[in-house]
Amino acid sequence: MALDSKIPEGPIQDKWTDYKNKINLVNPANKRHIDIIVVGTGLAGGSAAATLAELGYNVKAFAYQDSPRRAHSIAAQGGINAAKNYQGDGDSTYRLFYDTVKGGDYRSREANVYRLAEVSGNIIDQCVAQGVPFARDYGGLLDNRSFGGVLVSRTFYAKGQTGQQLLLGAYSAMNRQIARGKIEMFNRHEMLDVVIVDGKARGIIARNLITGEIERHSAHAVVVATGGYGNVYFLSTNAMGSNVTASWKIHKKGAYFANPCYTQIHPTCIPRSGDYQSKLTLMSESLRNDGRIWVPAKLEDAKAIREGKKKPTDLSEEERDYYLERRYPAFGNLVPRDVASRAAKERCDAGFGVNATGEAVYLDFADAITRYGTEQAKIHNISNPSKAKIYELGKAIVEAKYGNLFQMYEKIVDENPYETPMMIYPAVHYTMGGVWVDYNLMTTVPGLYCIGEANFSDHGANRLGASALMQGLADGYFVLPYTIGDYLADDIRTGKISTDSAEFEAAEKEVKDRIEFFINNKGTKSVDYFHKKLGKVMWDKCGMSRNEKGLKEAIEEIKAIREEFWKEVKVPGDANEMNPELEKAGRVADFLELGELFAKDALVREESAGGHFREEYQTPEGEAKRRKEFQYVSAWEYVGEPSEAILHKEPLEYENIEVKERSYK
């Protein structure tokens, strides 16, 4: 099937408005007879479910957690971008569009990104109306901060808990509709397959995670909003339950999977400490506004620190290498995430890393404390303030800005980051790749939509900070509710979809057979054994930098792990009860297939772009080198084994932005 991205005609700034003027609408009386399933209730799914219910559709929403309020969007710390230009620093829709396309290393779809920038301002208006307590300045107006990869301050925030507040906003909007009976909420339910009838998505098979019951649910359209697949690495900043299953199941039923190799490795995470580690913790990128990143300039100092013979505070300014400020004077510590991550790895690989593992760099707030302290002393008319007074005043400001992050760090690492520089190291955080969708956010299966991190569309090969929240809410509040109506306008006479069809029967049987296999398999090894093994291959060979040899090895190794998994996996307990091991088994089975497609995608993309860094393709300075002939989206069609997946290319054209060498120098 040829890919049709369905981008509307006309100048980029008019596309979305013209599109909305011309689409089919469903009248309110007919909406009452149309059902929509939304799987996943994070920012994208939650906002979509609430808005669709407000419009009058009957929504069935599904979450694997015990409440929609737990979705991992809640963990986003730093903020949400919007082109409001409240700071008067030259921001505009075009500039946000430009920054996002450039930040994505010219691998995203222009029309989608422009629409995202266009609706970004509405998101802030909507959230404020909902009572989201964004940070404000003393005049009572909304405050902004700056994030990596941009030269303006357009990030709105609520302390270090912006994702939480936005999610609770969407959750409150959902609650209003749940109370009205317009959303039927299925907590502790996991989607295990999609049901396709006459070529259209018409329902799902879900497992009740408390009773183990397998349920059939029908609808006129299905929306998948189940987030990213970072947990394919085992260790990531994702929640323990985050998984690819819904996306992978729809891929196997006909939805193309795009750019799986585009993964974001976030530069500021707490370094790992031991083999027992179950997950990694992110420290918001906003810390790079005030923190300076460095490693010892001399190898012997780095060694002494690793062995505990020296402390970072023992090193003078000259003995430190502020490598981001040195390499990228224009953006300094605020270069985009992929650039910052690779630079940290480069220093650590060269032997300058700190921490016992040698896999950590410093993020230092000493300068910021002094700077803020001096400023505060002036504001409060304190002449000749002592060093201690400056420290006290400065610390209070840093605490007000980042207090909860510092506390989190101290609880995990057991060091006080006000006094000793924080240690950070990159970790898997976000996946730009995902299910291929057209301009309508519809997958290659009619009636099957994919929104938020689960789709591939807006961030290209690298996502800028504070843009995930923006995309999730844009898709759910402002884009999908229009585009899905255009599709559903044909369904007003369809009537209720029956769950008694052969298609539902077959999908249910497939799901039940697999569960039965897991429960009855006489293996000896736990699910985590395989997940950790897969994670190690992914991190070593499909991580921050990749090469042909490693990727070919990864493909073979993942295949071997998968074969062993199906022979040797053991799942304790029963199918008809709450069984966390059984849940994990299904998810890891899907990761084991995705992992291979991921490596294959990385292998055929013979260029470096954003989060995908191929060692063979770099500039003499070690920067990512894009290649014009790869200016396309790789959309993979499932035909059986991942190795046989068929590549479809969606060419990317840039008419409103000049494709340039991405430079942050």
Binding site: D66, A135, L141, N175
Partner: protein, 246 residues
């Protein structure tokens, strides 16, 4: 370090549960409490026993999913954190640690340490929102200035993660800190004024219906709250309720 764990095991909501003793060895002080539980579960797996079911997800203290009652305290002995942020350095070699589910009539046990907190969702559905549709035509976000003080205070209330530690810690199993936090967030903001009276009445009525107890000002909830939600929120809720009732 080596530890003895006394853990509540219960097959499902209909079966009677009991405390069961387990031993774990070679626990690193840098492990999180849940990583220690992972080690226990691996051990149980190797012995052919069923792992202990417990709720957890983000493992960074924000989703509110984890919910253990450890040595008689919700989220264990440390302050200002959830169970997933609790580290083993808070314990000593040879300790015996008692691990129970959050206990309250309104939080029935589902399995082992997993409880049903859907009562919290139903209270939110009763009024924990501002009735504004998504239209794309809402007024500009900066059209109503809100004092920094009010915004910050609303944010402090809104920071509640809905974990239920307040209920588990309260001798009356009261949910007033949880409800007070949501009522306060909206009461402090101009957007919340229009529906303020109905909101507080409906949320409190639902809270009572769910079987949560009343507040007797013991203050255990505030002490155990991982997000430091203040008792003032309960006072504000009571004021709002009084205002709405007269």
């Amino acid at each position: 370090m080596n530890l003895t764990l006394k853990i509540w095991r219960q097959k499902d909501s209909k079966t009677k549960g009991q405390m069961v003793d387990y031993k774990v060895t070679d626990i690193s002080e840098h492990m999180s409490f849940l990583e220690m539980m992972d080690v226990l579960n691996e051990q149980l797996f190797a012995q052919g026993e069923e792992p202990v079911a417990f709720d957890h997800d983000c493992r960074e203290g924000i989703c509110g999913m984890c919910s253990m009652y450890i040595n008689g305290e919700a989220h264990g002995p440390d302050r200002g954190i959830t169970t997933c942020q609790l580290h083993m350095r808070m314990f000593n070699d040879g300790d015996t640690i008692t691990i129970e589910p959050f206990r309250a009539a309104a939080f029935p046990v589902i399995k082992d340490l997993v409880v049903d907190r859907s009562a919290f969702d139903r209270i939110q559905q009763a009024g924990g929102y501002i009735s504004v549709n998504t239209s794309g035509n809402t007024q500009d976000a900066n059209s109503i200035p809100i004092s920094k003080h009010a915004a910050d205070e609303a944010m402090d209330a809104a920071t509640c993660i809905g974990c239920g530690a307040c209920v588990a810690s309260c001798k009356n199993s009261s949910a007033m800190l949880f409800v007070g936090a949501k009522v306060s967030q909206y009461a402090l903001l101009p957007q919340g004024q229009v529906e303020a009276a109905d909101r507080v009445k409906n949320m409190v009525a639902q809270m009572d219906l769910e079987g949560f107890g009343n507040c007797t000002n013991t203050g255990a909830c505030e002490v155990e709250c991982p997000k430091g939600i203040s008792l003032e929120n309960i006072a504000r809720m009571n004021r709002e309720l009084l205002k709405a009732s007269i």
